[in-house]
């Protein structure tokens, strides 16, 4: 018999192969799809923004962990990198680097570490960072640039949604789908985002209910409005292809930490989010509502969780 003590632990004695690090770094990997579209359409600068943003996020996380006397190595678990890259992907393609860094730091500090760090945040950090930048530097955050395949002379500086909202101009579906439109660096190509999202769904890191209910909800509510007045409101297909909806649906609203824990809750969450998107897009001052809609449902989430507690087996 060996002299070493036997390991004493509580069941189960076998565990799945998943780990937080794996989940996070795989998500980072899957972000290569939208990141690729960013590089393809807007050149290498977006890559720089992503790097700076991710780096700042990690550094900020590291400093805060140190200050709070927590395990500093946590900053490399990948979650800060996800936040940093996601934030970068929601920014305009020519966004100033230092502002992106500030946004990333804000996201990590205020939305994540102040709430207790990974897994404890109430709001999606990347979106908080984005909202912060939107409010802090409104001009930079809404200055769009043309893709490499658009002629700069005819570019009006508006995203498809803004074009529709203010000029009633519809952008062709093909451009929307493949991404040859103005917009945030990672949000333009619906195709690549769907690919990245599908990878996550297949890997089991994302519950398909979230993106599905969110997109379907936008489609339905958008469709209802369109049926009511087709000349005033865009058709539902435009709704789901334009703007940050795809990025939001596959990468933002699906954030594990801030989404409801039950399946039913997730469906409700998605529907509510979709409703808010249509509401804000069509009636509020901003042309895009994805970010706001998700932040708002984030704050409603505790109630969704509370009200959708699953039935315990055998409960009457």
């Amino acid at each position: 018999m060996n002299e070493k003590n036997l390991v004493l632990s509580v069941s189960p004695h076998i565990r799945s192969e998943e780990s937080v690090k794996k989940v996070m770094w795989f998500t980072v990997l899957s972000l290569a799809f939208p990141a690729a579209s960013a590089v393809y359409f807007f050149g290498l600068y977006p890559l720089l923004v992503m790097l700076v943003s991710a780096f700042t996020a990690v550094v900020a996380e590291c400093i805060l962990l140190k200050l709070r006397g927590r395990d500093v190595s946590q900053c490399l678990d990948g979650s800060a990198v996800v936040t940093g890259i996601l934030l970068a992907l929601t920014l305009p393609p020519r966004f100033p680097l230092w502002e992106a860094a500030l946004g990333a730091a804000f996201a990590i500090v205020f939305a994540k570490q102040f709430f207790g760090g990974i897994g404890q945040n109430i709001f999606n950090p990347a979106l908080v960072g984005r909202a912060f930048l939107m409010a802090a530097f409104p001009v930079d955050a809404t200055t769009w640039s043309p893709t490499r395949f658009m002629s700069p002379d005819t570019f009006t500086g508006a995203t498809p949604l803004a074009n529709f909202k203010f000029e009633k101009v519809l952008t062709p579906y093909k451009d929307l789908f493949f991404g040859n439109v103005a917009g945030s660096m990672g949000e333009t190509s619906a195709l690549l985002i769907i690919l990245g999202g599908l990878v996550l769904i297949l890997k089991g890191y994302v519950d398909f209910r979230l993106p599905l209910s969110y997109i379907a909800s936008v489609f339905c509510f958008g469709g209802i409005m369109w049926l009511i007045n087709p000349s005033k409101y865009p058709d539902p297909l435009f709704h789901i292809l334009a703007g940050g909806l795809m990025l939001g649906a596959f990468y933002m609203i699906t954030d594990m930490v801030t989404s409801p824990i039950t399946r039913k809750g997730r469906v409700i969450y998605g529907i509510l989010g979709g409703f808010l998107v249509v509401l804000i897009r069509l009636f509020a001052g901003y042309p895009e509502g994805v970010m706001f809609s998700i932040l708002i449902v984030n704050s409603i989430r505790p109630w969704i969780d509370r009200l959708t507690k699953p039935r315990v087996l055998g409960e009457v």
């Binding site: 070493k4 003590n5 036997l6 390991v7 004493l8 632990s9």
Partner: protein, 275 residues
């Protein structure tokens, strides 16, 4: 001038009307209350800020008077002063006269106590004890995960390199949090001037206890014989000090006779701490 006169009339009317209105309602709707609530309300700042977590001062006062709340120091704006008053009104203040400190009644350091297994799980004494009985051979001794250290609000405890928690007497307020936290009831609040302690809670038979801990009480009873009649007793293989004062008088004798050093002087134990 006109304006002033109109104002005067209006406010006069308003004041009279509402005054009368209130007076009548007072008479009609008067409800007798616990006088202490009034007193508490008097003592509380009345800011109704809600810092106490109750709905305003009334809520807090009622909770205090009703005995639902026992913390007199919840009022942020009031500070110490109000807390004292409040405590006085509801009779909560218990001032301890003799300084007491917490003391860990186990000397199962890493060297003294044998580990029976390699624990893998939640790093908490309580959890480890309730689920796996800990990883030490002795299921009565210190588990060494430091639950007591974690609950100490005063920074009076720390985990020593020897695997046992230590108490800084100067900082200890004898609040008793650590006593509650220890799943093996190893921590006791003792007067600072006590000398002799049994640093063991093991109930196993001598040979068994000895097999996993060098300093376990093996229930030999030698010390009991040294102590005055009735000052110590043996119960379930363990020595218990019944009358501390009497035992302290013969401290050296009692301690000297112990084969395992389970009984020890506090000073001696203190030396270990400083390491």
């Amino acid at each position: 001038m006109n304006t002033i006169i109109i104002s005067l009339l209006l406010t006069l009317a308003l004041g009279l009307l509402s005054g009368l209105f209130l007076m009548i309602s007072f008479k009609k709707f008067y409800v007798q209350e616990d006088p202490r609530v009034e007193m508490l309300l008097e003592a509380l700042p009345g800011a109704n800020c809600g810092a106490c977590g109750y709905s305003g001062c009334v809520g807090y006062a009622e909770a205090l008077a009703g005995g639902k709340e026992t913390n007199a120091a919840k009022c942020g704006p009031g500070g110490q002063e109000v807390a004292d008053k409040v405590a006085h009104i509801i009779g909560l203040d218990t001032v301890s006269i003799v300084k007491r400190v917490a003391k860990v009644m186990c000397n199962g350091t890493k060297e003294n106590a044998v580990r029976r297994s390699d624990y893998d799980g939640v790093k908490s004494c309580r959890v480890a004890d309730f689920t796996l009985k800990g990883d030490r051979g002795c299921v009565y001794g210190c588990l060494g995960f430091g639950d007591c250290v974690n609950v100490c609000q005063f920074g009076a405890m720390f985990m020593g390199d020897d695997g046992l928690p230590h108490i800084i007497n100067e900082k200890c307020t004898a609040c008793g949090k650590c006593v509650e936290a220890c799943p093996h009831d190893l921590i006791e609040l003792v007067p600072l001037d006590r000398k002799v302690f049994v640093f063991c809670k093991n109930l196993d038979r001598g040979p068994v206890a000895k097999s996993y801990c060098k300093v376990a009480c093996i229930g030999c009873g030698l010390c009991v014989k040294q102590a005055p009649e009735g000052a110590m007793k043996l119960e379930k293989n363990l020595v218990i000090i019944v009358d501390a004062e009497k035992v302290d008088e013969v401290a050296d004798k009692v301690v000297g006779v112990c084969p395992t050093k389970a009984i020890a002087l506090d000073e001696k134990f203190a030396e270990v701490k400083t390491v």
